[in-house]
Every structure is written in structure tokens, then in C-alpha cells.
């Protein structure tokens, strides 16, 4: 197999309340393992993985942030330049779901890319005591123009899919990951704007 050239490097962000399983989702995605002994993240953590979506090989630089209130003055600095964000809640915790609005607010304030792709992930569906239904998650995602999936880092449900979907969407968003060379033409003032060849000029 020949090494395919990397199309682009994307910055992905994982945010959400503490303990919802952000680091676990990332570990599942990058190393395909689940570590119940995953320590609470301090500040931000970072992982890299290459992913091929629709034949495009992309390098993902994934920044895992700490969900703890106290770190929140620090972590938003890392939102800069992210093309995609995974917003995680815990389906067995209504509380973590209720905080989503605040997270989106924070994202709005600190992200630099206006059209960044957002994905909502309801984690821990392997658990029995669901407090947030799939419908609620869907509704929230629809309201905020997000992708949505339910997943479990423990049983590896939907994890791969979530990342792939997100990357695909980013790749499909023009101008998000490549500098667009669009030219504009303000107004149509005057005939001299048009090119000579197809334009008849009386004199």
C-alpha cells in the first residue's frame, strides 16, 4: 500500500462537562481501548490520528479539554482555529445535558472559525440509567445545527463513526480548511468592468 498524501491537518476539539467521558472517547478513537482508570484531565491533552474519509487522508490533531469549571478560564484559549468540535454529554446525567447551552455559548465566544462543524455526542449509552433520551439529544442538535450521535467509549459504539462523520462534514465545508480564493465584484458599476473580448465597445 502506498502512502497517500495527507490532504490537510484538521484541528478538532472535544468539550463538555467533567466526567462525561471525553478523554475516554478520544482514547477509544485513537488507541481503541477503554481505560476505566483514565485520570481527570488537567488543562488540555492532545492526540493525533490520521483518518481517511472519502479517499481523503487527513491528519487530525485532537485537543481534549478538561471539563472542570476551574479550568474553563484556561481551556478556551485552545479553541482557536479548530475546524470541528465534539460536544459531549453523558446520557446518564441530565445535568451534563443541561449544561450544553453554556458550552455552546463558550464556543461562540472563543472559537475563531465561524463556520466550524459541531457534533453532539451522547456518551455512555451502555449504561442502564438513561436520563437523557435520544430524542432530546436529536432535538438539541437540530436546534443548533449540529451533527448528532449516541455513543459509548466503553463498548465502542458510534465512536469511529462520530469522528468520521465530523471530518467528512469539515472536508465538505469549503473555506473551512483551505484558503478560498474567491473574488468578489462589488456591484456592477459601469460597463468597463467587463472584459474586452465579449464586450462590444462603440469606440
Amino acid at each position: 500500500m502506498e502512502e497517500q498524501e495527507i490532504l490537510t491537518t484538521l484541528k478538532i476539539l472535544i468539550i463538555g462537562e467533567s466526567g462525561v467521558g471525553k478523554s475516554s472517547l478520544l482514547l477509544r478513537f485513537t488507541d481503541d481501548t477503554f481505560d476505566p482508570e483514565q485520570a481527570a484531565t488537567i488543562g488540555v491533552d492532545f492526540k493525533v490520528k490520521t483518518l481517511t474519509v472519502d479517499g481523503n487522508r487527513t491528519k487530525l490533531a485532537i485537543w481534549d479539554t478538561a471539563g472542570q469549571e476551574r479550568f474553563r478560564t484556561l481551556t478556551p484559549s485552545y479553541y482557536r482555529g479548530a475546524q470541528g468540535v465534539i460536544l459531549v454529554y453523558d446520557v446518564s446525567s441530565k445535568q451534563s445535558f443541561n449544561k450544553l447551552d453554556a458550552w455552546l455559548n463558550e464556543l461562540e465566544t472563543f472559537s475563531t472559525k465561524q463556520d466550524m462543524v459541531k457534533m453532539l455526542v451522547g456518551n455512555k449509552i451502555d449504561r442502564s440509567n438513561h436520563e437523557v433520551s435520544k430524542e432530546e439529544g436529536l432535538k438539541f442538535a437540530r436546534k443548533h445545527h449540529m451533527l448528532f450521535i449516541e455513543a459509548s467509549a466503553k463498548t465502542n459504539d458510534g465512536v469511529q463513526c462520530a469522528f468520521e462523520e465530523l471530518v467528512e462534514k469539515i472536508i465538505q465545508t469549503p473555506g473551512l480548511w483551505e484558503t478560498s480564493g474567491k473574488t468578489i465584484r462589488p456591484g456592477q458599476g459601469g460597463a468597463d468592468v467587463s472584459q474586452g473580448q465579449s464586450c462590444y465597445c462603440v469606440i
Partner: protein, 1138 residues
């Protein structure tokens, strides 16, 4: 296999066919050597191949184009390169996109069905329809071949290289006949043209093999001078008829379409009003104020509208109906049924804003450093420094001298001399004259002026009357119809603030950018920019050293949405603020002056004085250090809240000894409360051992209903250190370092440790505030989800869930509610006591446990500072001073673009530019992308400035055109009520290429245009009236109208005036132009100049070549202008009945 076989078959047929045709054409055969036959065959085969590719084989006839579709519809083009021997050609297919083509498959099938009904051969070929189509006679913008022949599709063969051209007739014939073989083989009836001679001559010869046995020959002649007998319709009709060669039969009348174009180049009443801006006033006139440096020039120096072209058209007349010969003409422009107008814009109207900004951007190409630039004017800078030329002493000092020092105002005068190295110029060498530099600095730093001025400055910067386009626009246009544009302007202003990565418009950064732009323009470019930049940096250092906050820079951590220079200034401000806090408590002004043995009473005194000046702050910096010989020993100092906290009234001085490692620190006076003594010894003693003995310190507020698990004491939230502010480049660096650690578990560990400073600091503060606490207590405050309690049904629930639930269950109870039942508290406490740390917190050796163990009980105020303001300030100052002027310019460009777009928005609104909104929206979104993209790209900014200049030009055009059409001299009572139409006409002239004049000469716009021409004619012919010039137009009409009062048009218009009051009637009578010969003859020159361009289209249905041939369309287009005359004929002949 089958297909390739068939192809070969086809090829051989082709060549056979070709051979035959060549043999038929004797003259071609003459010059064709058989050695080149293969070249030629290949050429034909290639053409056929392309025709197949483009699906032009067995081409179906199209319906004729609809009215004006040639100019309004969209044209498409396909092209391929083909080779004939060593000649390379571009083979192009140009065609009008018709609706059918874009239809889906379904549409095509429908058409197929139709086609079967109508017999293919009996449908009129497209070429014939096109030649005789009267609906698209003088299209305003289209390909010249389309204009000359009226074709909706055609093929061209043009030499690729400009140098090679077909200059012999035989070559042309060879090429054309070869191409027609290909067309014939493909049954393609599309006209094909071959370009002859030099490209600029646009000379073509062409042919079309029409299905059903006819050939159209397209001929053209291009002459510098036309013999005078042909220079009118009569002569051209003769040419046409003789070309048809059928003088012996009675010919049907030729139908004629004519268009004359008149050029208006002298705008007598609407000459360009632009007055070049007077830059000097903003600097020289001291009393006007300093708000004017942010004035941006705007407008065009030359009239952006060069000429108006009026085209008068007579569509499809019979040759019998009009006469134009050398003696007489029926073609009076005022009688023409159709009038249309187009504008000829000025190529480079020298836009002020564009030039102003481009000059500034040009500096970004310079390589010199600031020092190198300044060295030229102060060769011995170092030597001079000691002398401190008093002449050039600091402007700020002089300005502040007469002002008595006020506590609220930083008195720069007192300290300015101690500021490090001011630039010293010999007065005559200073790029920016001293006084002006002073004014600019005052503009940048209004707080440095007199207290009065400070006040004004604030008012100025907040209200910003001159720089805010929204306000200026709304101020200038008070009319209700201008309200909408003004709203747009404020929308745009808001959008700019939101979307651009620049800086707020009233910020220091913004002002600095504009000031640099101005000194560049006014005081000699690079040198002046370097000078002002240097002064700016010195002021920055001065302010840092003297703890004077930067005005016009919002407080708080750097806003990552602003440009980097602005972030750096925000950072500097953070440092200054931090320094002020740090030093304001009076503990000292640096590590050296620290008193390590402060008595408690001293400390108390200091903290009281601090709190009196800095009320409402939780944290007030003061510095405390044991030795002070090491920068690392600076501590973050927070004011203890004991004096403010009403919960703690127990404050008596008492020294408590602390552990050995803390013994050097300043001990804060404190008093033990009775409860503090009661330390219950609950669980794991070893965990809180180290913290159980000290006095509580650095408490911020108590956490309601939370009690320490071991001691049962109230749990206090500690005062903590704020995380360090960071600019985006620091952040990037930081992120890079973190990312470099890799993705291994060890990497993660190190990363966590690197970022744990804040966590450890918080733990230390927590320990200091809560003697006897354990990790569980900390986690309950810091990460409640990691403290697991037993839920109602016996399951494990994170603590925050329990709380959230209890809140939901008990809606009356709000956060901070004072009334909480005793039992509630107790339940919570019991629950907490039964709880445990989450699994992940219990992992042995995890970072949290590790950090907890290493954390000592130290209040934030005595911890090592997380934010080293001195270091960060120096870094900022270094960053700024190491910038080359070119970098300064580039880094400030976002602010310039911001100011420019908002200037354009204001001006475009004031000028009522049509479609201003969409133009501005594009500018804004373009600017947003540009200012956010990194690295900064000079060329992209240049492109942006070009767009801004275009917008400026458009705005200037609007102003110019409107003033031309609404000039007082042209206004007349008949125009009353027609303003709207004139306005609409102006708008469409600006937005469309060619605009038809409703009502021709008699419409309101037509009348104005007529008057413009008259005025220009009179001025060109030096006709001066005795009367006031403004009256001359009236006088022009007085005479004829008094004679011809019953003119049809006049009477109808007076009827329209309704009431019939004599005054109105008279006025309207006078003003309506009466397009009669008499009117014009009354003046001593014609109303219009001779037509600059005269175009004729002659058409007839005539049998050719023989009288018994089919009746076929014939057409000739003629264009006569000065020195460039063209006849383009399309003559059809029957190839069956010859």
C-alpha cells in the same frame, strides 16, 4: 472492436469526400501539395472529432433569440486547439445559452417528440432566422461577430500566436474550405469564421453550409477611410444591392435598421466637484482638536465619468421611408424612436482613499529596521543621548507642564525625564515637526493632556463624531429616504466590529494605525512612520515603568479576536494593572525593597490602606518575599478578605508558627476562631496532617452547607490566582510545546504536569483557607462530579447530580437562599460523609493525588506568581520595538481596512449608491477573511485595497452622475414630479451597461440629456448669451415656442399640468424641448454633434445566385466611425438551383 471498425470506415469515407471536394475547388488544388495532404486530412479529422465532442453533429435548428436576449442572456464558450501544418489555431464555439439546454433529460425527450412531428428539413435553419431577426439589432454587449451578423452561435478559428496570422487570400480560402469539409461531413450548419490579418483588426471570413442546399458567405471589409459616396444610407444601399447582384429583377424593398451614437464629453453643468482634502488643517490648526487625525480622505480627483454615449435607434424601417444622402437626412436624433445611453468611465480617476492607503501599504515592502531608518537623521544617536537636547525635550512634558499634578490624572510631566532614551533629533531633522508630534501623541493619549482635555478626550473617543460613518451619515442626510442607508451603515459598523480581526474603533491601536497612515502621507513616508512608531514604543515603556494604564485599551485578558498588536497592548495593560496592584499596597516597588520582617501590625495597616483605595476587589496585589534576590521569589499577593468578610469578625493579631519550608514568608496577622480549635479527627489522618495546624488564610467566601469531612468545619472557597493572560502567539507557542510532547501516555503525563501549576496553586490556596481539609473536600468544591454519594435508591451518584436534583425537587429553594432547613443541612452532611472519591480520582499515583500531596498550605498572596508581569511586559516591549516599519504597517493593516470599509460604508450611504448594501457586505466578508488569515499577506491586502478603491470609484461615479442629472441648470418645472424617474434612470445607468431612455427625447431623462448636449454644443461653438447663463436654455425655447405654441407635445404636457393656471402652463410650455427643425435652427448651432458612430443593418429576402434560385436572407451590417469603417455582409446563395 465493432466501434473501432466503424470509426475506421468513417475515416476513410471522410478522406474520400475530402478528396472529391478538393478536386472540385480548382484554385485550392493548385496550391495544395499532396505531401501536405496528411496535415490537412488530420486537421479536418480533428475538427470533426471536436464537433462530435461538442455534440454539434446533425445540429438541430434553434428558434430565434428572444428580444434583447443577446445582451441579457448568458453566453458560453468552448475551445480546443487544432493544428494545421505548423499553424496552431484556437477552435472556439460561442453560443447563447438557451433555456432548453439547461433543461433536464425530460425536456430533451419532449423536444425529440416534437422534432419527429415537424419535418427536420423544413424547419428554418438557425442562421437564416438569426440573420433576419429584428429583435436583437444593436445588442449592448456581446461578441462582435454576434453584433455584426446577429448570430446566436458560431465557430471561430483564430491563430494561437499573435505573430502568426492568415494574411494571404489563398491561405484563407484553403483554411475555410478545409473547415467547411469538416462541417459538411458533420452536417453542422453553424457558421464558421476564420480570422484574417492582425488580431486587432477583427477581420473574419466565414461560411455556413445550411441544411437543405444553401451556403452563406460571410464577408467583411475593414477600411480606414470610406469613399464619401458610401458614407450614408443611400450609398450603402447601393453597395448592398450591387453585392446581391440582382439588379435585373425588381427587388423587394430593403429593410433598414439604423443607430447613431452621439458622444457627450463636456459636462457643462456637472463638472466634477471634488475638492482635494486639506490634510494640513487637521495638524496645523490646534484649536480644531485632535479628533481629525482619524479623518480619511475620500473621492476621486478626476471626474470618474468620462463620457456619455447616446445611441438613437431607428429599428426596421423600409428603405422607401427614409432618406439619408450627402445632401439631406431624415435621421434626426430627436425623432429617433429609441434612445439608449451608456457611460464611459474614466480609467483611473485617482481615488483619494485608495491612493492614501496604497501609499501606506507600500511601506510594507521596505526592509529597513526602525533603527536603521532613524539613524539617517540622528547619526550619533548614542552620543546625543547624553546631551539630551533641551530643544527637543519631550513633547508630553511640555504639554503637561502648566497642569498642576492631579491625583486622578497621571502627571507625565513629573516623571517623563526619567523615561529611558527618548529619540533626539536635531530640530530641523525631525521627520514629524515637534508640535505636530505633540498633537498626534495627545490624540493617541488623551489622558496625557490637561485634566480638561482628558475629559474632552474621553468624550471625543466615545462619541467619535468624525470617525463614525454611521453618525456622520445620519447627520448629513436627515431626509427620511436616506434613513435606510444610514441604518445600513450602523449595521455595517456593528458587523465590522464583530467580524474583523482588528481592534475597536475607539481603541489606541485603531488610532495609532490611522495616525501612522497620516504621518506617512504628510511627513515623508517611512521616516515619519519610524519616528512615530519609536515615540509610541517609548511611551509604552514609559507607561509600563511608571504604572500608567494605557487609555483606549480595554481591560482584561487579550481578546483573541483582535489583531496581534492590539493583543500585545492589552497584555501590556494587564502587566501594568498587575504591577499597580502589586505595588499599591506599599510593600515595596520591587523585590529589592521588600521587608521580609514585616510586623503584623504593619501588614494590617497596609492591608487596611489598600482596601480603602481599592475597594470591592477580592484581590489586591502586594508583594512579599523572603530575600528578593531572585525574581522567582516574587509572590502573588492577595489582599486578605478578613476585613471585608462580615462572616469573620474575629481579627486579632496572633502569630502562628508554620512549617519549616514556609518560615521565611511573611506571616499574616490573623485570629483564631473558637471553632478552629475544635479539630475532629475523622478519617485518614495522614492526609490532612500537614494542614491541620496552621491558621486559616486567604478565604474568599464560605461555601454554604459544605463542611470539612474530618473537622466538620465550614468549608471556605479560597482566594485563588487568576490564570495568566495570553496573547495568541504565546498561546500558539504554548500549544506547540504541549503538542510536541507527543501522544504517548508519558507525554500526556508531562503535559498534565506542565499545566498543573494552576491546580497546585488552587490546592495550596484551598489548604491555606481550610485547615484540616482532605482531598475529598477539595474535590467536592473543585470537581463535584468526582465525588460519589449514595443516591436515594442506593446507587452511586455524582454529587453535583444530587444537588441538581434536590434543586429541581424543591423549586422554592434557590441558590443562595438563606432559609435552608436544619435537617436539609444535616442530610447533606451525612450524605457527604458517606461519599467517596470517584474511581478515577482514586487511581494511585494519579496527578490529582500527587498534586494534593505536594501542595502546601499557602494562600494565593504568598504563592509564586503564576503571572510574571515584569517578564511579560518586557516581552511585549521587545516585540514592539523589534518590529520593522514594514511589519508595523502590515500588522496594522487590519485596522486600516476596518476604518476604510467603514468610511466607504458612510460615503456610499451618503452618495446613495445603488446596491450599496451588497457591495458593502462583500467588502465586509472579504475583510473578515483577510484579517483572520495568517500569515499576513501583503498581496492580499493590496487586492483588498483595490476592491476598496473600486467601491470608492463607484461611490464617486454615483455622486458625479447624480449631480450631472440633477444640476439646477437642468431642472425645470416640467421635471417636477419626475425626480423619481430621473433617479431611477441614474441608478440603472450606474448598475447596467446600456440603459434605454423611456420616451426617448421626450421623456424626462431624455429632456435632460438633450439639454446637456445643447449646452456642450454651445460651449464648444463658443456661443455666449448676453443673458445669465442659467437662463440661456429657457431663452433657447422661448422663441420657437412662442411661435409654435400649438406643438403637439407641448399642448399635451400642459394638459397634464391639470389646473390650467397660467403660471404653470407658461412654465411647462417653456421648458418642454420641442424637437423640431425650427427649434434647432433658432440657435446658431445644432443641438447634437455629428454622430460619432453610425451603424446600419440592411436586410432583404432575395433569390441568389440566379433569379430562379430560392429566396434567401441577405444581410449587411455597416459601421462608420472616424478612421474605422466596417462592412460585414452575409450573403446566402442557393447551392441547388444555381
Amino acid at each position: 472492436m465493432a466501434t473501432s471498425h466503424r470509426n475506421r470506415d468513417k475515416m476513410s469515407t471522410n478522406s474520400r469526400d475530402s478528396m472529391i471536394s478538393v478536386e472540385d475547388e480548382a484554385d485550392v488544388f493548385e496550391i495544395t501539395d499532396f505531401t501536405t495532404a496528411s496535415d490537412w486530412e488530420r486537421f479536418i479529422a480533428r475538427l470533426e472529432e471536436i464537433l462530435h465532442e461538442w455534440k454539434l453533429v446533425n445540429h438541430k435548428p434553434h428558434p430565434p433569440a428572444m428580444k434583447d436576449q443577446y445582451s441579457t442572456g448568458s453566453w458560453a464558450e468552448k475551445s480546443e486547439e487544432v493544428i494545421f501544418a505548423d499553424f496552431r489555431f484556437t477552435f472556439t464555439y460561442m453560443y447563447l445559452k438557451t433555456g432548453e439546454e439547461t433543461n433536464s433529460e425530460v425536456g430533451k425527450q419532449d423536444r425529440k417528440g416534437e422534432d419527429e412531428d415537424v419535418d427536420e428539413d423544413h424547419r428554418t435553419p438557425t442562421v437564416f432566422l438569426d440573420l433576419m431577426n429584428f429583435d436583437n439589432d444593436f445588442p449592448s454587449r456581446t461578441h462582435f461577430l454576434c453584433r455584426w451578423y446577429g448570430l446566436q452561435e458560431f465557430l471561430t478559428l483564430t491563430p494561437v500566436s499573435e505573430k502568426q496570422c492568415i494574411d494571404s487570400e489563398s491561405r484563407a480560402k484553403l483554411l475555410l474550405s478545409s473547415a467547411s469539409i469538416a462541417l459538411g461531413n458533420s452536417a453542422c450548419g453553424i457558421p464558421l469564421f476564420v480570422q484574417l490579418q492582425s488580431r486587432w483588426r477583427k477581420l473574419f471570413t466565414g461560411t455556413s453550409l445550411v441544411n437543405g442546399g444553401a451556403t452563406v458567405e460571410f464577408e467583411m471589409s475593414h477600411l480606414k477611410r470610406l469613399p464619401s459616396q458610401f458614407c450614408h444610407l443611400a450609398g450603402l444601399l447601393d453597395v448592398f444591392k450591387s453585392k446581391l447582384g440582382c439588379t435585373y429583377i425588381s427587388m423587394p424593398p430593403v429593410s433598414v435598421s439604423v443607430r447613431f451614437t452621439y458622444i457627450l464629453a463636456d459636462w457643462i453643468h456637472g463638472s466634477w466637484p471634488q475638492i482635494p482634502p486639506d490634510f494640513s488643517s487637521s495638524f496645523c490648526d490646534g484649536e480644531v482638536g485632535y479628533g481629525e487625525i482619524d479623518f480619511l480622505p475620500f473621492g476621486a480627483c478626476l471626474d470618474p465619468i468620462n463620457e456619455l454615449h447616446l445611441s438613437c435607434t431607428w429599428p426596421c424601417l423600409s428603405e422607401d421611408m427614409i432618406v439619408e444622402n450627402s445632401l439631406y437626412s431624415d435621421l434626426d436624433p430627436l425623432q429617433a424612436p429609441l434612445w439608449s445611453v451608456r457611460l464611459q468611465m474614466t480609467d483611473n480617476p485617482q481615488c483619494l482613499l485608495g491612493d492614501f492607503l496604497n501609499d501606506f501599504l507600500k511601506l510594507s515592502e521596505r526592509q529597513e529596521s526602525t533603527e536603521e531608518v532613524l539613524k539617517k537623521v540622528m547619526p550619533e544617536a548614542d552620543a546625543d543621548r547624553d546631551k539630551q537636547n533641551p530643544e527637543i525635550s519631550h513633547v508630553l512634558q511640555r504639554l503637561t507642564e502648566p497642569v498642576p499634578a492631579l491625583s486622578s490624572v497621571p502627571s507625565l510631566g513629573n516623571v517623563v525625564s526619567s523615561a529611558s532614551a527618548k529619540i533626539t533629533f536635531r530640530p530641523e531633522d525631525a521627520p514629524i515637526p515637534d508640535e505636530l508630534l505633540g498633537k498626534i501623541l495627545i490624540y493617541l493619549f488623551p489622558d496625557a493632556k490637561t485634566p480638561n482635555a482628558v475629559h474632552e478626550g474621553k468624550v471625543n473617543s466615545s462619541a467619535k463624531p468624525s470617525s463614525d460613518p454611521a453618525q456622520s451619515a445620519s447627520a448629513t442626510d436627515s431626509g427620511s429616504e436616506t434613513k435606510a442607508p444610514a441604518e445600513h451603515v450602523s449595521d455595517i459598523a456593528a458587523e465590522l466590529n464583530k467580524k474583523l480581526k482588528s481592534s475597536p474603533t475607539d481603541s489606541l491601536t485603531h488610532k495609532l494605525s490611522l495616525a501612522l497612515c497620516h504621518v506617512n502621507h504628510q511627513f515623508g513616508g517611512l521616516l515619519a512612520v519610524a519616528h512615530l512608531w519609536q515615540e509610541f514604543i517609548l511611551e509604552m515603556r514609559f507607561r509600563w515603568e511608571n504604572k500608567i494604564l494605557l487609555c483606549g485599551i480595554e481591560k482584561g485578558a487579550p481578546n483573541l479576536g483582535s489583531c496581534i498588536v492590539h493583543q500585545k497592548l492589552q497584555m501590556l495593560n494587564c502587566c501594568i494593572e498587575c504591577k499597580i496592584k502589586r505595588e499599591s499596597s506599599g510593600f515595596g516597588y520591587g523585590p529589592d525593597s521588600l521587608n521580609a520582617h514585616n510586623t503584623p501590625s504593619d501588614a494590617l495597616l497596609e492591608s487596611t490602606s489598600a482596601s480603602s483605595t481599592q475597594n470591592s476587589l477580592h484581590k489586591v496585589g502586594s508583594i512579599a518575599s523572603s530575600s528578593g534576590d531572585d525574581e522567582d521569589d516574587e509572590f502573588f499577593e492577595c489582599e486578605d478578605d478578613e476585613n471585608e468578610n462580615p462572616n469573620e469578625e474575629q481579627a486579632t493579631a496572633q502569630k502562628i508558627s508554620v512549617e519549616a519550608q514556609e518560615n521565611a514568608r511573611v506571616k499574616k496577622a490573623s485570629k483564631s476562631s473558637a471553632e478552629d480549635e475544635v479539630l475532629s479527627t475523622k478519617s485518614d489522618v495522614s492526609q490532612y496532617q500537614d494542614s491541620q495546624t496552621h491558621r486559616p488564610e486567604g478565604r474568599m467566601v464560605s461555601m454554604k452547607n459544605y463542611f470539612l469531612l474530618c473537622t466538620g468545619e465550614q468549608l471556605y472557597i479560597p482566594i485563588t490566582q487568576e490564570p495568566s493572560p495570553m496573547t495568541e502567539d504565546m498561546l500558539e507557542e504554548h500549544a506547540e510545546v504541549l503538542a510536541k510532547l507527543g501522544t504517548t501516555a508519558e507525554g500526556s503525563q508531562i503535559r498534565a504536569r506542565m499545566q498543573s501549576a494552576c491546580l497546585v496553586s488552587d490546592m495550596e490556596s484551598f489548604k491555606a483557607a481550610n485547615p484540616g481539609c482532605i482531598l475529598e473536600d477539595f474535590v467536592r468544591w473543585y470537581s463535584p462530579r468526582d465525588y460519589i454519594v449514595v443516591g436515594e435508591n442506593g446507587e452511586d451518584v455524582p454529587m453535583d447530580e444530587v444537588e441538581a436534583r434536590s434543586k429541581v425537587e424543591d423549586p422554592d429553594m434557590k441558590e443562595g437562599d438563606n432559609v435552608e432547613t436544619e435537617s436539609g443541612e444535616r442530610v447533606k452532611m451525612t450524605k457527604a460523609l458517606q461519599g467517596r472519591l470517584s474511581q478515577r480520582m482514586q487511581i494511585p499515583g494519579n496527578m490529582w493525588v500527587e498534586a494534593w500531596q505536594s501542595a502546601r498550605a499557602v494562600p494565593a498572596r504568598r504563592q509564586k506568581r503564576l503571572f510574571d508581569d515584569t517578564r511579560e511586559a518586557e516581552k511585549v516591549l521587545h516585540y514592539l520595538s523589534s518590529m520593522r516599519p514594514a511589519e508595523v504597517v502590515l500588522h496594522l493593516m487590519p485596522n486600516i481596512v476596518h476604518a476604510a470599509v467603514s468610511k466607504v460604508a458612510g460615503e456610499a450611504a451618503a452618495a446613495l449608491v445603488p446596491n450599496a448594501r451588497s457591495m458593502l457586505d462583500q467588502l465586509v466578508s472579504r475583510a473578515a477573511t483577510l484579517t483572520r488569515s495568517f500569515p499576513l499577506d501583503r498581496n492580499k491586502y493590496r487586492e483588498m485595497l483595490r476592491l476598496l478603491e473600486l467601491a470608492e470609484t463607484i461611490s464617486a461615479r454615483t455622486t458625479s452622475l447624480r449631480s450631472k442629472f440633477t444640476s439646477n441648470h437642468l431642472a425645470s418645472p416640467a421635471q417636477e414630479g419626475k425626480e423619481e424617474e430621473i433617479e431611477g434612470f441614474v441608478t440603472s445607468l450606474l448598475t447596467q451597461g446600456e440603459v434605454s431612455v423611456r420616451g426617448g427625447a421626450c421623456g424626462p431623462a431624455g429632456a435632460v440629456i438633450h439639454k446637456m448636449f445643447i449646452a456642450a454644443q454651445r460651449s464648444n461653438n463658443m456661443i455666449m448669451d448676453d443673458e445669465e447663463s442659467s437662463d440661456f436654455l429657457d431663452s433657447l425655447y422661448k422663441k420657437p415656442l412662442s411661435r409654435h405654441g400649438s406643438d403637439r407635445r407641448t399642448s399635451s404636457s400642459s394638459n397634464n399640468s391639470g389646473t390650467g393656471s397660467t403660471g404653470t402652463r407658461k412654465n411647462s410650455d417653456l421648458s418642454v424641448p420641442s424637437p423640431t427643425q425650427e427649434v434647432r435652427s433658432s440657435a446658431s448651432c445644432a443641438d447634437f454633434p455629428p454622430a460619432s458612430v453610425r451603424e446600419y443593418i440592411l436586410r432583404a429576402m432575395v433569390p441568389r445566385p440566379a433569379p430562379y434560385s430560392k429566396v434567401l436572407p441577405q444581410r449587411m451590417y455597416c459601421m462608420l466611425t472616424d478612421g474605422d469603417n466596417r462592412l460585414a455582409g452575409a450573403f446566402t446563395s442557393d447551392s441547388t438551383f444555381q
